[in-house]
Symmetry: C2
Subunit: 377 residues, 2 copies
Amino acid sequence: MKLLIFAAITFAAAAQRTPAPAFYEDTNNIPVSPEVHADRRVTFRLFAPEASEVLLMGSPGILEFTKKPLPLTKGEKGIWSLTIGPLPSGFYTYGYAIDKGLRMPDPSNPNLELRRWGATSSFIVPGAEKAVMEARPVPHGTVHVNFYDSANLNTQRMVYVYTPPGYETGRQKYPVLYLLHGNGQIEASWTWTGRANVILDNLLADGKIKPMVVVMPFGHVQREIKTAANAPAPAIGADMAAIEKELMTAVKPMVEAKYRVLTDRNHRAIGGLSMGAAQSLTIGLHNIDHFAYIAAFSGAANRAEWEKADPEMLNRKLKVLWLGCGTEDFAYPGVKGMAELFSKRNVKHVWNESGAGHSWPNWQVYLSKYAQLLFRD
Amino acid sequence: MKLLIFAAITFAAAAQRTPAPAFYEDTNNIPVSPEVHADRRVTFRLFAPEASEVLLMGSPGILEFTKKPLPLTKGEKGIWSLTIGPLPSGFYTYGYAIDKGLRMPDPSNPNLELRRWGATSSFIVPGAEKAVMEARPVPHGTVHVNFYDSANLNTQRMVYVYTPPGYETGRQKYPVLYLLHGNGQIEASWTWTGRANVILDNLLADGKIKPMVVVMPFGHVQREIKTAANAPAPAIGADMAAIEKELMTAVKPMVEAKYRVLTDRNHRAIGGLSMGAAQSLTIGLHNIDHFAYIAAFSGAANRAEWEKADPEMLNRKLKVLWLGCGTEDFAYPGVKGMAELFSKRNVKHVWNESGAGHSWPNWQVYLSKYAQLLFRD
């Protein structure tokens, strides 16, 4: 009762003090969005009484799943809506484009895709069976947010680390996968958005992977996409050399001092998505004495050095060299080209071609496939 | 070089495939925002070429620091801007209100205030000396994201846990503070937004607190603010009984099994902000045999039970009973009233009145003050 009175006082007082748009004062104005219906249709809603155009964008910038911007229709009380589908069961990210330029996540949806700029939103359409990224009541690992002061980059940075179930109370040492994110993403992306921890929990519960520690560092030098007005955004990949140095001289030593991990190359893997794929193919080859496993999801780079590398050496040292890309992905020609290079030079590798494009559903499946090949001997 | 080509191909291909608003394809359209100038003025910018009104809202719903919505002015290339200040050094949260209803975080700013609904943005104005919530190159603790399946609530939930520097490689057992968030916030809020881990790292480095583990559970029953169209949002505090049960029967046992923590009441504290203050005053009193320290930041509740409690018992059992509120806070009368009740009944307590209102800068300072009183004997 006291609490209800407290709440009433709260909003009465706030309303009195602040001549703000009504929306902020009354959560009842917030529509439910997205609403995933039992038949796998999905309704999106947005309160935007004065907007002249609201577009649904599947993965803004990429448009996965909507293919093109889809207009919402203005209805009663300033609420725009759109129902699409039935959608295939799976994981989706989306945002809104409003009035030809403004971009925003769905304010009703607490599930955000975190990014360096322009957070978007996510949702899951459940299927008849649980997909690999859907939470199940199995033993859960822990995601650790580590903070450290980088001497190389003269700033504080974060590294996310996944430890498997039982890590806290056990004594075992584990192999390590360094898992790298894409351009615009952050160190939280592989877990917060990509649900890597859920995927690994599920695979471990099903006996499909070895327990492992997964290290997810930040793959850009600076947090903001730009820091000075009118400065051009740096090119993708501009950070490569600095990130390689940071991973090998700061992140890896910190992880090996702080966590119970195995430190021989046969128990160390690297892999990443998009920009992180490019980084994995570069850092992995430069440091092949440290990594017995390399994977590139939906990205490629460093072809010239791979062309020069001795195939016999690569086949001897790399237990798994894994490439995956969707046929609709803009990165497909580049990744496919790397696979063809490896085939031509008789470099053992796995080539995983899938449908769809440059999107989390592919990366979630690629991680689940790559993880199953790791640390088998 | 390959990477630059890859990047060029990426955006050329994306542009070809997607008839999306230009903004999504060219990060050069993203203005720098907020830009904190050396003189502590702050410039906010937003690309919104078709908007008719863009308002800066300090802490949307509360309006801390802006006091009222402040209009941005439309300039060249569809970019709206506003420069305010000089602002006092400190921590700020804000969002934009666009065209009378639409709310959004600042898409340029990677620092989000995460919430159940309507994420907003944050920034820091540095001062001459580092404030308690500003990162310094001191030893850093770790923030752990724990996932568990709640039998009480039949869903998977998260608990954030801060462990002090050295936890991973030591053997010591630590006292525990249960730290509860406010309405609309989430288990990530105290660290991601409130920077509790930074505060505790700094205080520990300065020898001002005992090292402690801090447990930050989720304080609502469900993640979404509403799950059915046209359903009213539940009242603040509706979750109280369920959250008390969850904390005592699920969170606390899990923490005590998984972490090296002391398990006697003298080494266990509770405290929270706003709704979390109400929960702390309720759960703390109901379970006084489990908590020797109780704190309420900017919130109050459960007055009737506190009025009935034996002052002698309270004074004997509670090592610290801590209340804090800002004089501009809508919760001020309620919290001040609790302090007056305690004074009248000769219940020992700390009453911390500050300026300003219902906002993170107060909660950050309250945490730093409360933490310094914990586990001293």
